[in-house]
């Protein structure tokens, strides 16, 4: 079962059982939903920015261990980053998942590396990237203020 241990590492199981930054965010600058029609997994990502800095990210939703842990780890990883750094991190993480080496240059994924085992399970890659696509949409949506609350 060595392969499965690579996939279900303790860090992932820990973030699945006790997801960090779980829940709605108030006040919020933007939010975006991710939905995987194949499995019905859904995640809602909330973003608060302070100037050019990602001040906080939280998420809500129902998902598997991979999607929940990935969202939880993401909220920790992007907090405090300036927007370009956050965007680069998203690109690097997505590149790690799709096995595209080009996107990862110069960005240290740190703790997120625990999710690298997912790329060996092609059908699960969408689970791991769901929240990241939603965060990217929230970052883009913030400029046009498409989704905001007071």
């Amino acid at each position: 079962m060595s392969d499965l241990r690579d996939l279900y590492q303790q860090v992932i199981l820990d973030h699945y059982r006790a997801p960090r930054n779980f829940g709605a965010l108030e006040p919020v600058s933007a939010c975006a939903e991710g939905y995987n029609p194949l499995c019905g997994d859904q995640v809602k990502v909330y973003l608060r920015t302070d100037g050019d800095v990602v001040a906080a990210v939280t998420f809500e939703g129902v998902g598997c261990a991979i999607s929940t842990a990935s969202a939880s780890l993401m909220t920790e990883a992007v907090r405090g980053l300036e927007r370009p750094r956050a965007e680069a991190l998203i690109a690097s993480f997505l590149a790690l998942m799709t096995g595209d080496g080009n996107g990862a240059a110069g960005v240290d994924l740190g703790k997120l590396e625990v999710l690298s085992g997912v790329k060996d399970y092609p059908v699960r890659i969408k689970c791991a990237t769901l929240a990241w696509h939603a965060l990217r949409a929230a970052l883009e949506g913030e400029d046009s203020e498409t989704v905001t609350t007071e």
Partner: protein, 426 residues
């Protein structure tokens, strides 16, 4: 002479048990390995595997006599046409259809249901009319009705299900009225295995409306003897690939007088008798509904698949699968961290070949990945039945579904791997 036992107490005559090992040998794919383990295929409700006779029949068609059907005057076309029409006759006999002209070949259950919705539905639904479905329908028996209702200004109503996943017949009857034009109901739920009482549905419908009764038989045809005449419904749809036949072929059975009055679904070749630019005259059923070149080899393969099912014996298959089902539910009910969904969970309510479950604290997708590593193929997700999942209050389930070739040992492997899931997730 001893007093005869009452009919209710008397056991049905024991059918000769299925020789599963011998049967397995006729399914070549079951010999393969997945991730270094022998394949344990428990995803039959999604699609079953094919026996060698079906694979050979399709291969033989392409190798030795394939040509277009209903077209040429040459020998191959005649041979293909004969084989294609013979398959129609075999399917008609298999489902107790009084007339093989009532059997329309389609691409599958989904196309069959779309055909009924767009042809029968569209010509009968008027603004304010209603189509009555149930909460346990597959998306393929919901969306086609939503589409036609939108076109016609009619509306879809869903009959309620009990917490145990059984159709609430009183609630169903309460929805029927003079505006009901169509009742569309599944014979067996793909997500829960619930077996609906179709004759009761038909009786209630006839007493309260003029509606046609459309039955989604995709999950019933591989598992039990289906007799459309005895069921009393008006349309019955099913797919080849779930009943050990080829993919890309399915069936719509319809009452002859209803089919005869229905407008075409698709237009094209083979479904007309005469075409001018002013108008076309349509062929009689079933050709009217089979525009274009049909799936000839798959239809022939389906004919062989139903003969195969009949030779194994639907009664024996049903008994074998019911034993697997009781065995599975009995083990799972002893595991406090597993919740079995659906009828009665072992109380003996009618249920076919499907066990849906959830595990405390573990998402079905993770269960499916861990089982796959051990060669055990199951389904995780919403099973194309999102309204049903919402009704049960779960985002997804783990579904194991049986075919004639599954064994108790495979069920035990499935369960022991659930323990492994539990161990990994602690």
């Amino acid at each position: 002479m001893t007093a005869p036992a009452s009919l209710a107490e008397r056991e049905p005559p024991p059918a000769e048990a299925l020789d599963v090992e011998r049967l397995r040998a006729s399914f070549p794919i079951l010999a393969r390995e997945v991730h270094g383990h022998r394949l344990v295929y428990l995803d039959n409700a999604a699609s079953a595997q094919r026996p060698e006779v079906v694979i050979d029949a399709v291969s033989d068609c392409y190798r030795t006599y394939y040509a277009n059907a209903h077209r040429g005057v040459h020998a191959l076309s005649e041979q293909s046409t004969d084989a294609y029409e013979a398959a129609r006759g075999k399917v008609a006999r298999f489902i107790g259809a009084p007339d093989s002209h009532e059997v329309v070949f389609t691409r599958g259950t989904t196309e069959s249901l779309n055909l009924v919705a767009q042809s029968y539905g569209r010509s009968h639904l008027k603004p304010g009319d209603e189509v009555v479905l149930t909460e346990m329908e597959h998306h393929s028996n919901i969306v086609p009705w939503q589409l036609v209702c939108e076109q016609a200004g009619a509306r879809v109503r869903a009959a309620p299900m009990t917490d145990d996943g059984e159709l609430d017949l009183d609630g169903f009857a309460g929805l029927l009225n003079e505006r009901t034009r169509v009742v569309a109901v599944t014979h067996v739920s793909n997500a829960l295995g619930t077996v609906n009482d179709i004759p009761a549905v038909v009786e209630l419908t006839r007493a309260r409306s003029d509606a046609a009764v459309v039955v989604d038989g995709a999950q019933a045809a591989p598992h039990m003897a289906v007799d459309v005449s005895a069921l009393g419904c008006d349309f019955y749809a099913f797919s080849g690939h779930k009943m050990y036949g080829p993919g890309g072929i399915g069936v719509l059975w319809g009452r002859r007088e209803l089919l005869a009055a229905m407008p075409p679904y698709h237009g094209g070749g083979a479904m007309i008798t005469r075409v001018t630019f002013e108008r076309s005259e349509y062929a009689a059923p079933p050709q009217r509904f089979e525009a274009g070149t049909p799936s000839i080899a798959p239809a022939i393969g389906l004919g062989v698949a139903v003969e195969f099912l009949a030779s194994v014996g639907l009664d024996r298959i049903e008994r074998h699968e019911r034993e697997l089902l009781s065995h599975t539910v009995a083990i799972l009910n002893d595991l406090p961290w597993v919740r079995v969904l659906g009828p009665g969970a072992g109380t003996g309510s009618p249920r076919a070949a499907v066990v849906s479950l959830v595990i405390d604290g573990v998402h079905p997708h993770d269960v499916a990945t861990i089982l796959d590593e051990q060669g055990v193929a199951i389904r995780a997700g919403h099973h194309c039945a999102q309204p049903l999942m919402n009704r049960l209050g779960v985002p997804a389930t783990v579904r194991t579904s049986f075919g004639m070739y599954n064994t108790r040992e495979e069920v035990d492997l499935f369960v022991s791997n659930l323990h492994e899931v539990r161990r990994i997730f602690g």
